[in-house]
């Protein structure tokens, strides 16, 4: 019995297959204007008995493939529980949304919060800010981590923040310190989301933004606790979906 989970995110599509109680295959691809084509390619050499879809494209996928559908919130709850059985709080920062989820001892979802309509505080926000500072995404996190202090930014709106950053640089602000300030603002926003669901240890940080060491470092400082980062934070939703199949 082998199952597959596919997490169709706004930026990346993730596929995980699960069998014999373990993760078998992990595949990822950047989402494009033709989501279905990307999905088909990911599924090309995959053999499995059942599929569950999740992520913002979950229903679109289910119109074209035989599958079950679960929300990404449930998928993250299942995936996190598998990776870290003692997990009670999940933070997921993806391409276009941020989620905070709390679990009970059994791993059932207790409460969840999501960011509002816009991309403020998400992976996309980081990408745009990195561009505004003329950094690659990797440089952006590294330089921010190395900076000894933050220059605070006030706007969380992606559009306003970009112009705020540009005018800061024009006034001679240090690029790395501004970068750190941006990271700080994302952490602030994530922590307030987490507080709304109640923060309990252990905390798992998932989603592409968990690759960013500066975010992790500031987050740990602020929460005064160690945060668990899965070996691949991007696949938790797809993994949860695959496990759900059984």
């Amino acid at each position: 019995m082998k199952s597959a989970g596919i997490d169709i995110g706004s930026r990346t599509i993730k596929l995980v297959t699960f069998g014999n109680g373990d993760i078998q295959i992990i595949k990822k691809a950047e989402n494009s204007f033709d989501t279905l084509k990307v999905c088909r390619e990911l599924l090309k050499d995959i053999s499995c008995d059942s599929i569950t879809s999740t992520g913002y494209g979950r229903h679109f996928f289910s119109e074209h493939f035989k599958c079950e559908v679960i929300s990404e919130i449930k998928a993250f709850a299942i995936g996190s529980k598998y990776i870290l059985p003692t997990c009670r709080t999940i933070l997921d920062i993806g391409g276009q949304d941020t989620k905070a989820i709390s679990l009970d001892e059994k791993g059932n979802m207790k409460k969840f919060e999501m960011n509002d309509k816009c991309a403020a505080g998400t992976g996309r926000f980081l990408e745009i800010m990195a561009m505004a500072l003329r950094y690659t995404l990797d440089e952006f996190g590294e330089n921010a981590l190395a900076a000894d202090e933050s220059v605070g930014i006030n706007s969380m709106c992606t559009v306003f923040a970009e112009s705020e950053v540009v005018s800061m640089l024009a006034r001679g602000a240090d690029r790395a310190k501004v970068a750190r300030g941006i990271h700080q603002s994302i952490v602030n926003r994530s922590v307030s989301l987490l507080r709304r669901v109640n923060i309990e240890s252990d905390i798992l940080f998932a989603g592409g933004v968990a690759f960013n060491k500066c975010i992790v470092s500031i987050l740990e400082q602020q929460l005064k606790t160690k945060i668990f980062i899965p070996f691949d934070p991007q696949i938790i939703g797809a993994l949860g979906a695959a496990i759900h199949c059984k």
Partner: protein
Amino acid sequence: MADYHEMWAGLGLDLKTHDMVLEIVGKAYQDIFLSQKNRPKGMWYFDFVMSEIHGLRIKELMDAKEQGRKIIGTFCVFVPEEIVLAVDAVCIGLCAGAELGFEEAEKYLPRNTCSLIKSAFGFKLAKVCPYIESTDLIVGENTCDGKKKAYESYKDIVGNLYVMDLPQMKSTEGRALLKAEYKKFAQKLEEISGKKITVESLKKGIEIANNKRKAINRMAALRSTDPTPISGLDALLANQVFFYDDPVRFTGSVNAICDELEARNREGMGVAAKGTPRILLSGCPMAVPNWKVPYIIETSNAVIVGEEMCTGERGTQNLVNANGNTVDELINGIVDRYFQIDCAVFTPNPSRLEHIKKMVKEYKADGVLHYGLQFCQPYQMESKIVEKELEKAGIPTLLIETDYSQEDAGQLKTRIEAFVERIKK
């Protein structure tokens, strides 16, 4: 459908925009309501009412005007229909539920005004609401700050606005204020209609309004079974039409549906499978054609079993005691009923929380979805208390904040699906 363009032109509507609005609403109705499975047959009545929403009903209002009856437009469940009926006038709810004419509305209102208020302006300014144009008197009421300040400019736009003050606390003084305002309102109605309110006419008004409430409450009670015999969308529609239909005909049609629902309950027939997660809606009112959230809920493997809203039980619960020998005694009975309405503009407002809990129990809801309109301060503030208290009582609660736009539909669907997964047994 007959051609009503001449009538609409006579009312000063912008025919081009109005045609477009009717087309959009008609299409939405088809997609959302007519696509539902296992609807009660009696819903044909509401399908008909909706297909004639700006047609036959407006024609009826025109005919009523010809006969010398006055049309009274309202925006709130605090306006006592009994007194309107006592002068043989017609009471019409004017609240609107679509994002229309907002740009025009924002010439008068700050951007951070709730959609409900904006659309009241928008529908007037875009000249697309034949109900507004039919009115002889529009009643505004001092509920939230948004509404009471908005009426200051609405007054000049519509030209026939009457503003009623309302209490904010459930105190002796508050009750006295409500009574004084109702008496003033009664006087105003007598003045514009040229008809005197008598014990008989007021008793008749009370009877008609009570019967209407009894019918809709009967429908509500029939939804406590699993499977539930009617969808939340259809029940909400009945609650929306409640505000502008002919009250006697409405009562008869709802009772006919109730007979059918009783038969369904006996046979164990429902609109969704037994065991489908049951949700209670609570919060801000939803005026036609605001069906966004209920539609998302009921296409996410859940069913709505009650509405703790103005377009629902907050507006319809409790009857007026019709025992009284004088007009003043009867007005006391009316005040007693309306003073129990637990709108979030009251402070404090503990009875609303009790009512939500009672509804959860009666309708066997698995969770509560609190619907808050963005910028609606009273309900948004109260939602935090509601969430805390309900979760403490073991009732899963989801707070939704939205407006009349469609852009957050995907986000809402994710939240609502996850909530349904949470409450699923």
